[in-house]
């Protein structure tokens, strides 16, 4: 398992120009929903994911995210093309106004259940442990990416996750 994970990590890292690679967008074709209320953090997440070739959409809080995901799932159901996930991943902040990350994750999971799909949700939290992390996991978060986000952290994480 370790060897396979190392191989995959190695393969992705080798693509990056920083490590002599020629493909500078190793995650191109991926679509990510970033759920974050603060401009500064939206800007950083956008820059990191754009550098990796990802198409990004932003929701300013959990409520917007829920609406966006629900609509995307509904639209796919009515379209004639084969079903696929509207987003490859969701990056979910914890503390947001209107609806926080825990409630949003729970509600998105409920919505997904109607369509039999599952979009990986990653929490982006200033905490590394504690009750909030437990709550996020119970709500259906796959992993907690602790702040601060940067290219190295996201690349390493996504390469070890199923791409």
């Amino acid at each position: 398992m370790l060897e396979r994970d190392c191989c995959r990590l190695y393969q992705v890292l080798k693509l990056l120009p920083e490590f002599g690679g020629e493909v500078d967008k190793p995650l191109s074709g991926k679509k990510v929903l970033v759920v974050e209320d603060e401009n500064l953090l939206q800007k950083i997440a956008t820059a990191i994911l754009s550098r990796l070739g990802v198409t990004i959409e932003i929701s300013n809080n959990g409520h917007e995210a829920l609406q966006t995901v629900s609509k995307a799932l509904e639209d796919q159901r009515t379209s004639e093309s084969p079903p696929s996930l509207p987003y490859d991943y969701i990056f979910m902040d914890f503390q947001m106004p209107v609806m926080d990350g825990i409630a949003a994750t729970r509600r998105i999971r409920e919505e997904e259940a109607k369509y039999g799909v599952h979009i990986p949700i990653f929490a982006v939290s200033a905490h590394t442990d504690g009750p909030e992390i437990q709550q996020m996991k119970q709500a259906g978060v796959a992993y907690n990416l602790s702040k601060p986000l940067n290219i190295a952290k996201i690349t390493e994480f996504l390469s070890s996750f199923e791409i």
Partner: protein
């Protein structure tokens, strides 16, 4: 090109001192790495946002802790400090981030005196790193104006 070399050396020495003194950590280098031809003003834009957000948060904290000391809303204090912790760690302002951690201990315990002390420390560290970053950007502008390129560190 002697003046450019001089300015570049000054820049490297100055930035190195910020890392050495713990004002900045590796995350600042990560932020610099995100600046490229498609995003040429990224660092400046991010740091400017950080300054704007931080000053709002410091104002809100002062209001929460000074206006009605018999009825401090510690949840509001938590929300502000939590946001400050996230933003300072995201740009690599290490010492500011560390004060936020001690601040949490004080407001969790509803220790008003401790909170007031932490707020003062937060202000001191924030204005210090703001001052240093502004000096850094001035050095960058001088290098570019003299026809040089900004040295990449790390």
């Amino acid at each position: 090109m002697d003046i450019v070399n001089q300015l570049q050396r000054q820049y490297v020495d100055f930035l190195s001192s910020l890392y050495r003194e713990g004002l900045l950590d590796d995350q600042f280098l990560q932020i610099q790495k995100l600046q490229d031809e498609s995003n040429p003003e990224f660092v400046n834009e991010v740091v400017t946002l950080f300054f704007e957000d931080s000053e709002k948060l410091l104002h809100n904290l002062a209001v929460s802790l000074y206006v009605d000391q018999q009825n401090v809303d510690y949840q509001k204090v938590d929300a502000c400090v939590h946001q400050f912790k996230g933003s300072s760690s995201s740009i690599g302002a290490q010492r500011v981030r560390n004060i936020c951690a001690s601040f949490r201990t004080c407001y969790d315990a509803k220790n008003l005196e401790g909170c007031l002390r932490c707020l003062q420390q937060l202000k001191d560290e924030y204005y210090l790193v703001k001052n240093k970053l502004q000096t850094l950007f001035r050095l960058e502008q001088q290098i570019v104006a003299a026809g040089g390129v900004i040295p990449i560190m790390g």
